[in-house]
């Protein structure tokens, strides 16, 4: 134990090393704090939905209550959905800055609504988030390099190597102690702020352990690389330059090259084409016999076909029917678009098996549910909720039931947890 304490004293007496550890600790704490602040902002924005929604829907109710027209209620009522951040989201904000975590939908065509975004500053998003994942993936390796590049070569340059080699078993225990000490210190400076924040955010204990394991593994990769370079018996300067160049290649250059290659190899049809196609189908309904629209709709949804026939007047059931026809006409395209996005995402993750930087980022965003899969799962929840909205309003519109003020309170409410449960059961059945 005294030997360890002695090594610690030696390490901390080197001012650059002590400074590096303090700096890394500060960066970890700052990243964890900004991540928690961002997640708190997002939670506050979600918590503010009900008040805004009550005011908005109240005004629609005032208007609709005069006519009791269920179609107008369906047309004018926007219903909020949201995607609350997972407990671990603070550590890896992932796509939550560029993809919406709140979206209002109404019972009209969903394909024209589901791709809408929220307001964000693109110049801020371009820079990327300063979160724990960034400190770990981008910055931690630089600190490993600072602490390890001269582990052996420094002793050689100071003329102490031969003395150390003369220790029993070539001083293997000494190098193990020195490496272990540096590893533990780095792990603690990264892991402690993370673990404290994670437990405060209510992250499951197992997940905290998993992330701590990932931090350890990532540090070990860089330490192993430093040891490998150290075996070449170059000077400390050459070691530092080589390791910094390796960092540049592994963390910045290969991922950007990978992005270019994946974009080429895995084409994604333009989402805008879905929106264009859906609009054509929807608007075309005004130029064809209304009976044709209803026939097509009833063929796909016989449960509403007991509705009385259309008269000469405008009726919202026709309007809602052609909106749904529009969605269904582009459904194969929407599925293909989604599948292509998933393929691209898979290709990116596959690179993570080769590239630890990408692998750690992929793992953290997956665990934090801030990646593309989480985005798509949120879209699935929106789709499921939208389907419930449709059947709720259709029950009034297709059966010509009046829609009064009290009926607004009966509308389905989005509940992200329940929606997720429904999703997993339907997947289990399907």
């Amino acid at each position: 134990m005294t030997l360890w304490r002695h090594e610690l004293r030696l390490l901390l007496r080197q001012r650059p090393s002590a400074f590096a550890l303090v700096l890394l600790a500060l960066l970890s704490v700052a990243a964890v704090a900004t991540g928690m602040a961002e997640v708190a902002r997002q939670r506050a924005a979600i918590a503010a939905i009900p008040a805004a929604q009550a005011e908005d829907i109240g005004a629609v109710a005032d208007y609709v209550d005069r006519t009791k027209d269920a179609g107008s209620a369906a047309y004018y009522s926007f219903h909020p959905t949201w995607d609350a951040p997972a407990p671990l989201a603070f550590a890896a904000l992932g796509m939550r800055d560029v993809a919406p975590y709140m979206l209002r939908v109404r019972a009209l065509g969903l394909e024209a609504q589901i791709q809408d975004g929220d307001i964000f500053n693109p110049q801020i998003a371009l820079a990327g988030r300063f979160d724990f994942a960034f400190v770990l993936v981008f910055l931690a390796p630089l600190f490993v390099i600072a602490l390890f590049h001269d582990l052996v070569s420094g002793e050689r340059e100071a003329g102490r190597q031969r003395t150390l080699d003369a220790l029993p078993r070539g001083g293997a225990a000494l190098w193990r102690r020195r490496t272990g000490l540096r590893l533990v210190l780095l792990w603690a400076t990264l892991g402690l702020p993370f673990a404290v924040a994670a437990l405060a955010e209510g992250v499951a204990f197992g997940v905290v352990l998993l992330v701590l394991g990932a931090i350890l593994a990532y540090l070990l990769f860089w330490i192993a690389l430093a040891a490998l370079v150290g075996r070449l018996r170059w000077t400390s300067v050459a070691n530092a330059a080589t390791l910094a160049a390796a960092w540049l290649v592994l963390v910045l250059i290969v991922p950007t090259l990978g992005h270019v290659v994946i974009d080429r190899l895995v084409p994604v049809g333009q989402g805008a084409e879905i929106a264009l196609a859906q609009r054509e189908v929807v608007n075309h309904a005004w130029d064809i016999p209304r009976a044709a629209t209803m026939r097509r709709f009833y063929a796909a949804h016989p449960e509403w076909s007991d509705s009385p026939p259309l008269g000469a007047d405008f009726h919202y059931k026709w309007y809602l029917a052609f909106h749904q026809n529009g969605d269904e006409a582009v459904a194969p395209r929407a599925r293909a678009y989604r599948a292509a996005l998933e393929r691209r995402d898979r290709a990116g993750r596959a690179l993570g098996w080769l590239l630890p930087s990408v692998g750690v980022q992929a793992l953290l965003t997956r665990l934090a549910r801030t990646d593309l899969a989480a985005q798509l799962a949120y879209q699935d929840r929106i789709r499921a909720f939208h389907a419930r909205l449709r059947s709720f309003y259709y029950d009034y519109v297709f059966h010509d039931r009046p829609f009064g003020r009290a009926d607004f309170g009966r509308a389905p409410r989005f509940d992200d947890r329940a929606e997720a449960r429904r999703q997993s059961t339907s997947r289990a059945i399907g």
Partner: protein, 479 residues
């Protein structure tokens, strides 16, 4: 001057003998080549695709059959943001903003389908563009090649030897500057060549390109001076390397990420849901066209009736419903503009905070300058959004006017079997509507937007040079 050249040639010869340095240099040339090629083909593919989509949307709009004008208000129009040729050098925020927009009446939609939501997670690691290579990678290469240029001479005692042979400190530093400067020029050459190729494209503007070339020149020159400064001040070359890598990591990786994050947190933006609810609230206060007793619309109707000296809206010389649509759109568009201006102002405040941090990090100053001159920054996106909204408003109001003038009130209110036919007006009306033409900013506008960044880089260079002058005078002292 002869001595300076000799020292420079000697330094370059030493670099040439260093195989690792040569490989690194060759790699950066390859990387820049790959960046220029992929970025250029990417930009051209995007520009071509968006132009194609835009034409398709225009054709679809013109091909619409006879309709009630209000149906066209809801049929709406799609706009695709055009991408200028300089985006091949620095695409800026292009991938991070939606690039297509659906325009319709009484609603302001978001720009959708940004590449960032259609890409793998790798896009958040950075994009391989000439700008990225020059901003991030090139300085590190210069660090590797230059960190020892002066520290090595001090460390090994060769500094004295050189001075004994009659070289002054100034000549020595000037020679090393010349050598590393030549390396910097060579490293930047492929990217600048790419810029020249882009210059051959139609629509590429000379002034912004000169600004970009000047900006990157200042930036790399600044790194050359900084490297020599650290190499002169720090005694051991290993420490020089560590200090320079740390400086690079802080100014090029850490600050460009941390500062925007802080700015984003300091100036909150109102989200879309709250904006929509607020607009709906304001609209109800200004005038609710759904409410038959609404004071604003009652006054509006009465003023019309008085002006035309009639008793009923049916007797007006035009379709009252069309006028109502015009008035409703006028009110809602004014609110859209108001809220958009507030949001833009908040985002501009965020960006101003980031720009000010150019005083802490030359990479931030350069990034702002580069995007501004390339026309791919927030201001450029805003320009598109504002022009799109202006076009949306003009289009919807033209259609509303058609409803007021070409559809009679009696037909518009009729519900008999033939009413649908009588409400429709000829398709020629849509074909006569003007298409969206994005008004690109002039070269002077873009260059002017890049001036603050340029000034900041100039300041950095002056300060670093002054420090280097001071360090030169002290070079080798106390040894």
């Amino acid at each position: 001057m002869r001595i300076v050249r000799l020292i420079a040639r000697d330094e370059l010869r030493l670099m040439l003998r260093n195989r690792v340095a040569l490989i690194a240099f060759a790699l950066i040339l390859l990387l820049t080549g790959a960046a220029v090629a992929s970025s250029w083909s990417h930009q051209r593919a995007i520009a071509e695709r968006r132009a194609r989509h835009q034409h398709a949307a225009e054709r679809a709009f013109d091909a619409q059959p006879d309709r009630h004008p209000h149906r066209m208000v809801h049929y709406g129009h799609f706009l695709f943001r055009p991408l200028g040729p300089l985006a091949a050098f620095d695409p800026g925020v292009d991938a991070f903003t939606g690039n297509s927009m659906f325009l319709e009446g009484h609603r302001q939609n978001t720009a959708n389908f940004g590449d960032v939501r259609q890409s793998s997670l790798l896009i958040r690691f950075g994009q391989l563009t000439p700008a990225f290579v020059l901003q991030i990678v090139a300085p590190l290469l210069l660090v590797f090649l230059g960190f020892g240029s002066l520290a090595r001479e001090t460390e090994r005692g060769t500094l004295r030897l050189l001075m004994l042979q009659g070289a002054s400190r100034r000549q020595l530093v000037a020679g090393k500057l010349l050598a590393l400067g030549a390396v910097a020029l060579a490293a930047a050459a492929p990217a600048m060549l790419g810029l020249l190729l882009i210059a051959g494209q139609p629509g590429a503007l000379a002034l912004p390109m000169l600004t970009i070339a000047l900006g990157y020149g200042l930036y790399l020159g600044l790194w050359v001076v900084l490297i020599l400064l650290v190499s002169a001040v720090v005694r051991r070359s290993r420490d020089a390397l560590l200090v320079l890598v740390a400086l690079w990591a802080v100014t090029s990786v850490l600050l460009p990420r941390a500062v925007p994050d802080l700015a984003g947190g300091a100036v909150p933006l109102r989200n879309r849901l709250q904006t929509e609810v607020a607009i709906a609230r304001d609209l109800r206060r200004m005038g609710d066209s759904h409410d038959p007793d609404d004071p604003h619309f009652t006054r509006f109707r009465q003023a019309l009736l008085d002006r035309h000296r009639v008793e009923r809206v049916e007797d007006l010389p035009f379709n009252y419903k069309g006028l109502l649509a015009l008035e409703g759109e006028r009110l809602s568009a004014a609110l859209f503009d108001l809220y958009a201006a507030q949001s833009f102002a908040a985002q501009a405040r965020q960006n101003a905070m980031v720009d000010a941090a150019g005083l802490l990090s030359p990479a931030i100053a350069l990034r702002g300058l580069s995007m501004a001159a390339a026309g791919t920054d927030f201001a450029a996106h805003r320009r598109f959004l504002e022009q799109a909204e202006a076009y949306r408003y003009a289009l919807v109001q033209r259609l509303n006017r058609m409803q007021a003038e070409a559809v009679t009130y009696a037909d518009d209110s009729a519900t008999d079997a033939g009413a649908d036919r009588r409400k429709r007006i000829g398709a020629a009306h849509w074909q006569a509507l003007p298409d969206f033409r994005f008004v690109a900013p002039t070269g002077a506008t873009l260059a002017r937007a890049a001036l603050p960044g340029l000034a900041m880089l100039g300041l950095w260079l002056v300060a670093a040079s002054a420090l280097l002058g001071w360090a030169t005078r002290r070079l080798g002292a106390g040894r």
